[in-house]
């Protein structure tokens, strides 16, 4: 009896779940088009499509008119970088939440972002940019994660709670080290560079920078995408997962490295952008459910659209650009609070 009653809402849910992907993809494309069109110099969407279409057929030519130059050299790389970073941060968060079986985990909670920030700030202080900055972000992000892993491993066992506490400790430690770097930095040159970079922005996005970010992010996204079913199994109890032929320790490290690659790269090209890895997977979970085979692509699409829109707001709301982390926190914190309440209300009701 109860099974028959359950069928109707299930069908509705299924329709929502399978219809959700075309809607999210369309939403992402629209968000990107809107973002390219919006700004002090407004380009109509039809004109953007026309410019991009022409470029598809004549890849070798260079932009000539003002609107072509704005679309192709300024806004398109910026929007693509924002979309890629949004997807990477959201997928990184979703994957880490799956591994730790805890929806409150994110690259920031584990100290990866702070480690990456320290690496990047150090690079700026030493006068490095580009690949070195990216490399140092990744290395120190990974160092933070390894430190968390070592601190949390007590008597050969790694408990979730100790991981999160160790993440807080390591995150605070690297945040303090960043402050030390700021204290040491030249107040006229490197200090403002570090501070502004830390606040997060895509204002310096270029095709070259996109090319720099592409390998790390695509590799990270690819690894998580390939392991999406494994994430369902990693959410099981350790013994249970092992009995199904899963090697949790090894597979967790694949996820950790992929998440660090994505977070480190995103920190290197756009500074520390918080909240995406926490808020977006939650929203995706409400739409497509907990199965990582749907959750990972949904997080990527939503994360990309979300950060593109946030970046558009950041550069169009006021005359000067608002730092991204300010906006993601202002929007993310209340949204997260509401999502969390709904989540637990539902959990209590069911």
């Amino acid at each position: 009896m109860s099974i028959a009653v359950d069928q109707a809402p299930r069908r509705a849910r299924l329709a929502l779940r399978f219809g959700a992907f075309p809607v999210m993809t369309a939403g992402l494309v629209l968000a990107m088009l809107y973002s390219i069109s919006a700004g002090r110099f407004e380009v109509p969407m039809a004109r953007i499509v026309e410019i991009l279409w022409a470029r598809v057929w004549d890849f070798s030519g260079s932009p000539e008119t003002m609107d072509e130059r704005i679309v192709e050299l300024v806004r398109l790389p910026r929007v693509l970088l924002a979309a890629l970073s949004g997807a990477a941060l959201a997928v990184g968060g979703a994957a880490l939440q799956g591994v730790f079986r805890n929806p409150l985990v994110s690259p920031q909670v584990l100290g990866i972002s702070q480690g990456g920030a320290f690496g990047g700030a150090m690079a700026i202080l030493l006068g490095f940019h580009g690949v070195v900055l990216l490399g140092m972000s990744f290395v120190f992000g990974l160092a933070a994660l390894v430190l968390v892993g070592l601190l949390a491993r007590i008597n050969g066992r790694t408990e979730i709670l100790t991981v999160i506490l160790a993440g807080m400790v390591v995150g605070a430690f690297f945040a303090a080290l960043v402050s030390v770097l700021q204290f040491l930095a030249d107040p006229n040159s490197s200090l403002p560079a570090i501070v502004y970079w830390l606040m997060g922005s895509f204002s310096t996005a270029t095709w070259a920078r996109l090319g720099l970010a592409l390998p790390g992010m695509v590799l990270g996204l690819g690894i998580v995408w390939l392991l999406r079913y494994r994430l369902n199994l990693l959410a099981l109890e350790e013994t249970e997962a092992r009995s199904l032929g899963v090697n949790p320790d090894r597979e967790r490290w694949f996820i950790f490295i992929a998440a660090t690659m994505m977070t480190g790269t995103s920190v290197a090209v756009a500074g520390v952008i918080g909240w995406i890895g926490l808020v977006v997977p939650h929203a995706a979970r409400l739409i497509v459910g907990e199965d990582h085979r749907r959750l990972i692509p949904a997080s990527a699409l939503l994360g990309a659209a979300y950060l593109v829109l946030i970046d558009t707001l950041a550069r169009t709301l006021t005359a000067s650009e608002i730092p991204l982390s300010v906006l993601t926190a202002l929007i993310g914190a209340p949204v997260f609070a509401v999502l969390l309440r709904q989540h637990f209300k539902r959990a209590w009701q069911s």
């Binding site: 099974i3 359950d6 069928q7 299930r10 079986r101 390939l226 392991l227 999406r228 079913y229 494994r230 369902n232 199994l233 959410a235 099981l236 109890e237 013994t239 249970e240 092992r242 009995s243 199904l244 032929g245 899963v246 597979e251 459910g289 907990e290 199965d291 085979r293 069911s350």
Partner: protein
């Protein structure tokens, strides 16, 4: 088929078992009995290879169908999704379950008689329904060794009977090695061929069910007097009950 030979395990000064050799061959069902905290689950974990032995070795197929005591409790997935996880070992690191795996999962659900649970969400199922799903998942691994950790402990009487019936049914064709832990000697009587008793103090005795489930051994195992009863009349089946100590006796 599945078991341990010359196996010893100690936790500090506590002896869990010493020089234990036990084997569950294909076609047999073995019940492991013992008081709380004696190490029944630990012995299962040793057989599964999750708990290293101090000495001796385990023998088991590469994949064993394992039914944990509390499994997948967080999973907000459908029953079919949980059963399909049984094919994970065949998929490899980057594999995704395909139509064949779904088909195997459906076949396992048919085998345990739980087709109606395929589309229900696992986290909304009752304890009995979850047990069916976890047993189906163990079958979907395709292994002929099945290990169940206290499959009846969290279930009401009706679901206990259904689960025991299922365990008996699974080995009717005598083509599996089944081992399970339980607190109730009557469950061993109902479905087991052999019994392993983990006695207080570290000794382990084993043998055919008829020789092991006796009032004397059970009284020694659980520390209370035990008696045979015949619920179906003088010629009916036998069941074993402890001598209940009433409130009065405790206060006296």
């Amino acid at each position: 088929m599945i078991g341990v030979s010359e196996a010893s395990l100690h936790f500090g000064t506590l002896r869990v078992f010493e020089a234990l050799s036990m084997d569950v061959p294909l076609g047999r069902t073995t019940a492991i009995l013992g008081p709380n905290g004696r190490g029944k689950t630990t012995l299962l974990r040793c057989m599964l290879g999750f708990q290293p032995l101090d000495q001796g070795r385990r023998h088991a197929p590469a994949i064993v169908g394992y039914v944990p005591q509390h499994g997948a409790s967080q999973a907000k997935l459908s029953g079919l999704d949980v059963v399909t996880m049984g094919s994970a070992a065949r998929l490899g690191l980057f594999g995704q379950p395909g139509p064949d795996d779904t088909e195997a999962a459906r076949a396992a659900l048919v085998q345990v008689g739980a087709c109606s649970l395929a589309d229900l969400r696992y986290d909304r199922m009752s304890g009995g329904q979850r047990q069916m799903i976890l047993i189906a998942r163990a079958l979907a691994t395709g292994s002929d060794a099945l290990v169940l950790d206290e499959p009846t402990s969290a279930l009401d009487l009706g679901n206990q009977a259904r689960t025991l019936g299922l365990i008996a049914m699974l080995n009717r064709a005598r083509d599996r090695a089944v081992v399970f832990t339980t607190h109730d000697p009557n469950h061993a009587l109902a479905v087991a061929d052999d019994v392993v008793l983990m006695m207080p103090g570290g000794a382990v005795v084993q043998g055919p069910v008829a020789q092991m489930i006796t009032p004397d051994l059970m009284a020694e195992l659980y520390g209370v007097p035990m008696h045979w009863v015949r619920p179906d009349g003088p010629r009916g089946r036998m069941a074993m009950l402890p001598e209940f100590t009433g409130k009065d006796a405790l206060c006296a």
